[in-house]
């Protein structure tokens, strides 16, 4: 009974792309490792070139792999069950991304609620403060680090206010989630104009976000003296917003690819896993930003 309606689950024949992807990741890891050593230790070497070769090969692999998949999908090889596999796979991937950001949020919370108060003498650490970091006061944002406190005694950086650029960026990203949602609705209701215009608008909003984020970094470095190595405030600020910015950039690239696929009419109101996945990813990146805006900028 159930067997009679069973749509065959498509298991691809051998594929050349994964092994190419494995070589690409190998080059990226070797290149990145050597590049880090060479730039920070003033050595010469080929790290940067190996890294770039890895990215280039990864790009080749992604194009080839996705082209295969798009062809298979257009040929109607994909059953509803396979489509579910992709959706679930994407959902679990996003969960893993959530946990990646959780590590950095965890570091932020730990620094704010435990390590900085303790260095300031809270809990039973009065002598830590007295003997090791005399004069250090626990504050957040941490502008005067313990090292500053016992050397110059002055703040080495200024805080990034949440008003201005960060607030505009929040508005931009929230708006982009809305436009993307209604673009999706347009796809489902076969309203092509709505789909294309709103998807295009989302890409524009995402790109403006990235540009503003770069400006904010320049502002931080030049005007505020807030740098990656400005103590744990600068560390968490730049790693959290930096990884987020990388995700927005990647998300924007995904949306651009989706735009061209919509242009070519790859998606049907019912079957559009790639669009769905890109959209989930974008909303996830948006949620991370809202968390960032609260915990990194406002509070």
């Amino acid at each position: 009974m159930a067997q009679e309606q069973y749509e065959k689950y498509y298991v691809p024949e051998q594929s050349i792309w994964p092994i190419i992807g494995a070589v690409a990741l190998f080059l990226i890891a070797v290149g990145a490792g050597n590049f880090v050593i060479e730039t920070t230790r003033d050595k010469s070497g080929y790290g940067f070139y190996i890294l770039m070769a890895g990215f280039a090969l990864l790009l080749v692999m992604l194009v080839g792999w996705f082209r295969n998949q798009i062809e298979e999908s257009m040929r109607g090889l994909y059953s509803a069950q396979l489509s579910r596999s992709y959706r679930q796979g994407m959902a679990w991937f996003i969960f893993s991304e959530v946990m990646f950001f959780a590590a950095f949020f965890g570091a932020l919370f730990y620094a704010r609620t435990i390590s900085i108060p303790w260095l300031g003498g809270a809990s039973n650490n009065a002598s830590t403060n007295d003997v090791l970091w005399n004069g250090f006061q626990a504050t957040w944002p941490l502008l005067t680090t313990p090292a500053d406190a016992i050397t110059t005694g002055e703040a080495s950086t200024q805080a990034m206010p949440w008003t201005g650029l960060p607030l505009y960026n929040t508005a931009l990203l929230l708006a982009s989630s809305v436009t993307l949602h209604y673009a999706h609705v347009g796809l489902e209701q076969v309203k092509r104009k709505q789909l294309m215009w709103l998807l295009g608008a989302t890409i524009v909003l995402g790109s403006i976000f990235v540009v503003l984020q770069v400006q904010e970094y320049i502002h931080a470095y030049v005007d505020l003296g807030l740098k990656l190595d400005s103590g744990v405030y600068g560390n968490t600020f730049f790693l959290l917003t930096g990884f987020h910015g990388m995700h927005v950039t990647l998300g924007t690239i995904i949306l651009i690819v989706l735009f061209f696929r919509c242009w070519k009419g790859h998606f049907t109101p019912k079957e559009h896993f790639a669009f769905q996945a890109g959209s989930w990813y974008w909303h996830f990146v948006d949620v991370v930003w809202v968390m960032l805006f609260f915990f990194v900028y406002i509070l």
Binding site: A2, K8, Q14, I16, P18, W92, G106, A111, P146
Partner: protein
Amino acid sequence: MSTETVNEAHDSDDGHDAHHEHHIPKGLLRWLFTTNHKDIGTLYLWFAFIMFLIGGAMAMVIRAELFQPGLQIVDPHFFNQMTTVHGLIMVFGAVMPAFTGLANWLVPMMIGAPDMALPRMNNWSFWILPFAFLILLSSLFMDGGGPAFGWTFYAPLSTQYSGDSTALFVFSVHIMGISSIMGAINVVVTILNMRAPGMTYMKMPLFVWTWLITAFLLIAVMPVLAGAVTMVLTDKFFGTSFFDAAGGGDPVMFQHIFWFFGHPEVYIMILPAFGIISAIVPTFSRKKLFGYASMVYATASIALLSFIVWAHHMFTTGMPVAAEMFFMFATMLISVPTGVKVFNWVATMWRGSLTFEVPMMFAIAFIVLFTIGGLSGLMLAITPADFQYHDTYFVVAHFHYVLVTGAVFSIMAAVYYWLPKWTGKMFDITLGKWHFWCSLISVNLLFFPMHFVGLAGMPRRIPDYALQFADINKWVSIGGFAFGLSQLIFLVLIIKACRKIGEPVSDQVWEGAEGLEWEIPSPAPYHTFETPPFIK
């Protein structure tokens, strides 16, 4: 003599399955490009075994140095690299890939699926692993040597006192993590989405259940490890101070983040073992598993508890007393679901008609020896007692009982149990028994006396020791060399099995075996269940 049930050869190969066989590609490219879950399972298992031998060779270096007090064979810095890389290889290169290999081979066959849910990604998650370990191993030959800060890479050892090769260590761990996450996503999606009609959750074999929960743990904690190594990288090379008090950070924070990954990680390495033992014990007891549902709930409880016990690795590092109490009691709570499991295995054997084939011997050894490891874990969970045991050989004894006689023995049990299904031939039983008895005796000579020197205060990770520990360390080293050599018996046995030397086996292979994988021909055809079976 042999008690194995070797039924007559089943000549189903030339029946309805024959038309699949000519699809099998040949040569090296088959393995590079494969999308087949059985091929990828084989690759994972071979890779794990090779890594087991390499990591084992490093353990031999450690035991040779510790054979006598004093510094004689290697210099201390190299010794530190050996302990570090031995740990990393055994955890990420041997045990985890071996379980992933077993999942690849078995999960689709057990739930009636045509393959893993995402076959191409499956290939990718395997093939990045050898590259990751190539990077890690080659970093040993760099200026200043490879990682020497212990597999736990505590800050500031890894951030301030490490060599520049730390950058390569970080990126190779990133690749291992990517591999694990992709592998785990594949397993979860396969189990949730690919079960044959009628294969409800509570009909799934326990190996499938335990892997489902393991995969969830992997997806939850491997990204946290990625975060930890990233912070180590920026602390070491880019002037951040996550783990440096001078900038407002804290080296203890490293330990919190690391063990938030690390404690679920130890369950990642033991839950699939529970699934394996729960498959083998009923077969050779010729009884249904006692308490199937309680096994499922116990596994889930262990997994959930694993998220709230991490700081029991840090009792001596410094924490408020209330936190020490919380982590002590939460840790001891884990013994309840674990006890349920051990009880259920014993109850399964109770009044069964037991036979002692090689997989069953490993399974029984697992139950006894894993329990020893569990009990010493309970001792370590007691905060005030841990102040004495911390960083001594007692800890080394504890986790090697859990990981070697636990995880590794279960993997060997699994290989002996399912190998005839994979090759279609019974393995060399005499060699298997030799392997078992040599391993069993040597492994206990190796790890049991470590409890004593540990309780007496011998610190771990140090290439030298006080004279009063000399006799016991000599015996421990002898046990270590014997255990290492015993694995060569296994290597010979596996090579013979892969060359298909041996008696043909029936589809069921073992008299009491139940489950979908025993209903398909032996050897398992290249493609199975292309249309799903219906499970009643």
